[in-house]
């Protein structure tokens, strides 16, 4: 079976961060038919690099290309009853599959490797991501539920809420739910941090506060029917998501009040 080996080797040696690295001694596996002969077990010291669900090993630390790769998906990692101290094994379900027996330099190193390897699978990572996705959704919902409480009498109270950065993820969150991850550049930058460029519609940065919000008190609403597109902050959210509609109606309530106040003022003026 072909594999895009050149690209795989490149991934092994490029500067993307390794999840774990270090020297290990790897047991040399003999062919079956040698099993009857009493060969001494021998080990080879190799430089191991773990990236995601791939365990690469190099002849030494400065090697430019890996000697080998162990795809870790579906493996179990266990401590070994081998003659060697600090030995552990990577095993696969497949009955005939060989195990990789590895020996660490000491107790701490062995424990660190076993821990890292047993969490290296794609499925594990996917599980954690889904769990966090749920947690974020729940955090959003409970935040939105707080906001549903009736509007404050003091507009300054409202303003404080709006400048609270905690509100803003409500707008970012639906983007993730709705689009999956399509707004994330697949090859580009590091989203989610302050360094993320704005090209994805200001995704990682909180959207700017709607300007009308700030001037509400001084009431620049000269036009009779203010474009009741309430001062909606720009953000690529879907109208279908729960969070957004709550946000929408929350903003809407405030607009209704302001509009009524304006209408009262107009009435008084014309009296």
């Amino acid at each position: 079976m072909k594999l895009n080996e050149r690209s795989v080797a490149h991934y092994a040696t490029c500067d993307s961060p390794a999840d774990h690295a270090g020297f290990l001694r790897k047991r040399v596996e003999r062919h079956h038919h040698h099993a009857h002969h009493h060969h001494a077990t021998s080990y080879q010291r190799r430089w191991f690099v773990l990236k995601g669900n791939l365990l690469f090993y190099f002849e030494d630390r400065e090697s430019r290309e890996p000697v080998g790769l162990v795809v870790l998906e579906g493996c179990t990692v266990e401590l070994c009853e081998a003659a060697e101290e600090f030995a552990f094994a990577i095993r696969f379900d497949d009955a005939g599959a060989r195990a990789y027996v590895l020996v660490a330099d000491g107790q701490a190193a062995m424990e660190a490797w076993v821990k890292a390897l047993s969490r290296a699978s794609f499925d594990y990572m996917r599980l954690v991501v889904r769990e966090l996705e749920k947690q974020l959704e729940e955090a959003c919902k409970s935040l939105a539920a707080c906001r549903k409480s009736p509007r404050r009498s003091s507009s300054s109270g409202r303003k404080r809420h709006l400048s609270n950065p905690a509100l803003l993820p409500l707008q970012e969150k639906p983007t993730v739910l709705e689009n999956g991850y399509s707004t994330w550049g697949s090859g580009g930058g590091v989203p989610g941090g302050a360094t993320c460029p704005d090209r994805d519609g200001g995704y990682a940065k909180p959207p700017p506060l709607p300007p009308r919000r700030r001037s509400a008190a001084s009431s620049t609403m000269g036009s009779p029917a203010p474009g009741l597109s309430p001062a909606m902050p720009e953000s690529p959210v879907s109208p279908e998501t729960d969070c957004f509609s709550k946000l929408h109606s929350w903003y809407g309530q405030e607009i209704t009040v302001l509009r009524r106040e304006w209408q009262e003022r107009q009435k008084k003026r014309h009296q």
Partner: protein, 149 residues
């Protein structure tokens, strides 16, 4: 480079995230579009002759670029060799779009970035680090500020 082909073949038999029959062309001189069964399993894309149980090949989907080409067509290339493209022609525009989205999300590196993002957002909103309960908050792979991918 040696690798545990046996386990990779076993992985190819696992339930797929996505599978379809498409036309595929490899980046080799004179190669043509051929009907293949492609199967996405974790961060590997396996491709089979349509009547065979064992894949002809596998593509590791890390550090790759998925590009929309002409109608119904997308390509996979790798960052160190962007001109070498594996081309896939789908039956419809919609199928093409679905594959592009699925493949963009299929890398371990992508999941790592998602996790870091969620962790950060949850921390901002709740003040708590959601990874602590897993006992993995200190691990290098989950830290913010890993600059390059």
């Amino acid at each position: 480079m040696r690798y545990n082909e046996r386990e990779l073949l076993s992985l190819a038999r696992q339930p797929a995230e996505k599978a379809a029959e498409v036309l595929m062309r490899v980046p080799k001189k004179g190669s043509v579009l051929k009907r293949r069964l492609v199967k996405l399993v974790v961060n590997f894309l396996f491709y089979f002759r349509t009547d065979e149980a064992e894949p002809i090949g596998a593509l590791l989907l890390e550090h790759c670029r998925i590009t929309r080409e002409e109608e119904n067509v997308f390509s996979i290339s790798f960052v160190e060799e962007p001109e070498r493209k594996y081309c896939f022609e789908c039956d419809s525009e919609e199928q093409c779009r679905e594959w592009v989205e699925a493949l963009k999300r299929a890398s371990y590196e992508f999941m790592r970035r998602s996790l870091i993002f969620y962790r950060n957002e949850i921390q901002k909103m709740t003040g708590k680090d959601p990874l602590e309960q897993y006992g993995i908050s200190e691990e290098a792979r989950f830290q913010l500020g890993t600059p390059k991918q």
